[in-house]
């Protein structure tokens, strides 16, 4: 059994038991369970625990639907519509409003990409240039202290164009996450690796290219996975405050016309969108970090 010297335990807690790439599928005996090491390096697969998670999610969704159905029988439609009404509203929106979904997705993609690039640059500058570090750190820390709502209102005053407003809001909200995590990534670079690469007398650019950038990729993915749900919420808020198109704007319209079925249908779409984006980021992460032996705790 090999355990990675730098094994990292991030969000994934899968339970497949793999020794030297050979998966043990039989039920382990008590003695075998005790003999198992605390960590194991394995490509996570959908094991019994993964299936249990899916089953639990299905149970929770069914309970929520049942609660909605029961509540809808005792309260007016504008308080709680039945799941069937929400489903019909979702079908209607799916065919009538794909443009708004596309706009929101495009805004999200562009904003996250720009925040990622800017945040990574700021984080790298903080990690590499000690003289500018305190100033950048101060800016980032102050930024994290400003409420998202303040930025939204400020953006409305500062920018006339709604696209610029939304981009600005997401940029200032997401940038600190990337900057601080990338800075931590640079700080976490093992000194042994720095000394090793320095022994070849590289240029500063070569250190960045061969050592620092590959090292921080894991931190960029971790940040993206952490902020994706938050970014979706922020883009919806921003659209609600500062735009006439997009899911947020449509939710605003649904609320003002007392279409709670549509508000719930949009909410349903947002949950699905979040899951799809998380899966997409996870997929990219698996490809980009295929070198990493994932560890899980028994």
């Amino acid at each position: 059994m090999q355990t990675s010297s730098r094994s990292e335990i991030l969000a994934d807690h899968k339970t497949s038991i793999v020794i030297e790439d050979v998966e043990l599928e039989r039920e382990p005996s008590a003695a075998a369970t005790l003999a198992k090491p605390l960590t194991r390096t394995a490509a996570p697969r959908l094991g019994p625990e993964g299936l249990r998670d899916i089953f639990a999610t299905c149970v929770v969704v069914l309970v929520l639907l049942a609660a909605m159905e029961i509540t809808s029988r005792f309260v007016p439609d504008y308080i709680m519509p039945s799941p069937v009404a929400v489903w019909n509203a979702a079908k209607e929106l799916f065919f009538s409003d794909p443009y708004h979904v596309a706009v929101t997705l495009a805004r999200l993609a562009v904003s996250v990409a720009i925040a990622m690039v800017a945040g990574v640059l700021v984080g790298l500058a903080m990690g590499i240039f000690p003289r500018v570090r305190p100033f950048l750190k101060a800016i980032v820390v102050i930024d994290t202290g400003i409420p998202a709502l303040s930025w939204m209102l400020i953006a409305v005053f500062w920018f006339r164009n709604s696209e610029v407003r939304i981009l600005f809001i997401l940029l200032v909200i997401l940038l600190p996450f990337y900057a601080l995590n990338v800075y931590e990534g640079v700080r976490a670079l093992p000194k042994e690796l720095v000394d090793m690469i320095e022994s070849f007398r590289p240029s500063r650019w070569q250190v960045l290219r061969f050592l620092i950038l590959p090292h921080i990729v894991a931190y960029i993915f971790l940040t993206t996975k952490s902020v994706i749900g938050y970014a979706i919420r922020m883009v919806i808020f921003a659209e609600l405050v500062a735009s006439a198109v997009g899911i947020g704007a449509r939710m605003n319209l649904a609320q003002s016309t007392f279409r709670i079925d549509q508000v719930l249908a949009w909410t349903f779409f947002l949950v699905i969108l979040n899951l799809l984006l998380q899966a997409l980021v996870n997929g990219f992460e698996k490809i980009a970090l295929k070198w990493r032996a994932e560890a899980s705790i028994r």
């Binding site: 990675s4 690796l193 320095e198 070849f200 007398r201 590959p214 990493r292 032996a293």
Partner: protein
């Protein structure tokens, strides 16, 4: 040994605050020579390596590597020096062959040239077939071989082995040591072997400098082929070195 002097350390001292790490050290290494720096932990071996590599400046004295000051002219020695460290220090996101080609890429070789050379060196260190394995898929001995291939692939004038075999098991360490020695002799490499293992020094080096804190040469021994072939002389040298290092002498040796 009459070759040109490649490493010259003249009256070098190094202070860390009030702590004296290296005390008026004199040593030279000639082209093609394998010199062992022997000493226990804290004897100043790594400080000497850092001074010769130019990653730190001496407090006093003169160091010349291939005729230049390694600290003041750090970049001038690009491609001339390579180090194989105690731990493999491989980049985990790179495969074995990508790790082996790292130095070549830093020297500005094209991807294709670097790949060809790296593969050649992986074969030399007996790692053919493992080119595309990631670091976590390699055993400790295999990783150290990749580390050695990475150091040797740039065709350096001087190779430093910083306790390179000390973390491996006896059999792997011995095999790797023999492989390295064969390559070093074949390519007439100048080597500085930094170790605390007397056996490594006696079996590999042409000359051993025994250091005692603060990095002062307590004993210098020349190890010729004749000496190496004579077990009684080797045993005697082993004992002398152990005493000079401050170790208890093992009478069985």
């Amino acid at each position: 040994m009459t070759g040109e002097i490649l490493i010259e350390v003249r009256d070098v001292s190094k202070m860390f605050g009030s702590y004296l790490a290296v005390d008026h050290l004199f040593m030279n290494v000639r082209r093609g020579e394998i010199v062992a720096l022997l000493g226990q932990t804290g004897a100043g071996k790594s400080t000497i390596l850092n001074l010769i590599m130019g990653t730190m400046a001496p407090s006093s004295g003169v160091i010349r590597v291939a005729g230049v000051d390694p600290y003041a002219s750090f970049k001038a020695l690009k491609g001339l020096l390579a180090v194989s460290f105690q731990t493999d220090r491989l980049l985990p996101w790179r495969t074995a062959v990508e790790n082996a080609e790292l130095g070549l890429r830093i020297l500005g070789k094209s991807r294709a040239q670097a790949r060809e050379k790296a593969k050649e060196w992986l074969t030399r260190v007996r790692l053919e077939g493992s080119d595309h394995k990631y670091v976590h898929q390699l055993s400790g001995g295999m990783r150290q071989r990749v580390s050695l291939a990475r150091a040797l692939a740039i065709d350096p004038e001087i190779v430093f082995l910083d306790e390179s075999f000390s973390q491996l098991d006896h059999v792997t360490s011995r095999t790797l040591r023999d492989d390295f020695l064969q390559i070093a002799r074949e390519f007439n490499k100048t080597c500085v072997l930094i170790t605390h293992r007397i056996d490594d020094a006696l079996e590999m080096a042409d000359r051993a400098l025994v250091l005692r804190p603060p990095a002062k040469v307590a004993l210098e021994v020349v190890i010729t082929k004749e000496v190496r072939a004579d077990p009684s002389q080797i045993a005697s040298l082993h004992a002398q070195i152990a005493v000079a290092m401050g170790e208890a002498v093992n009478t069985e040796n």
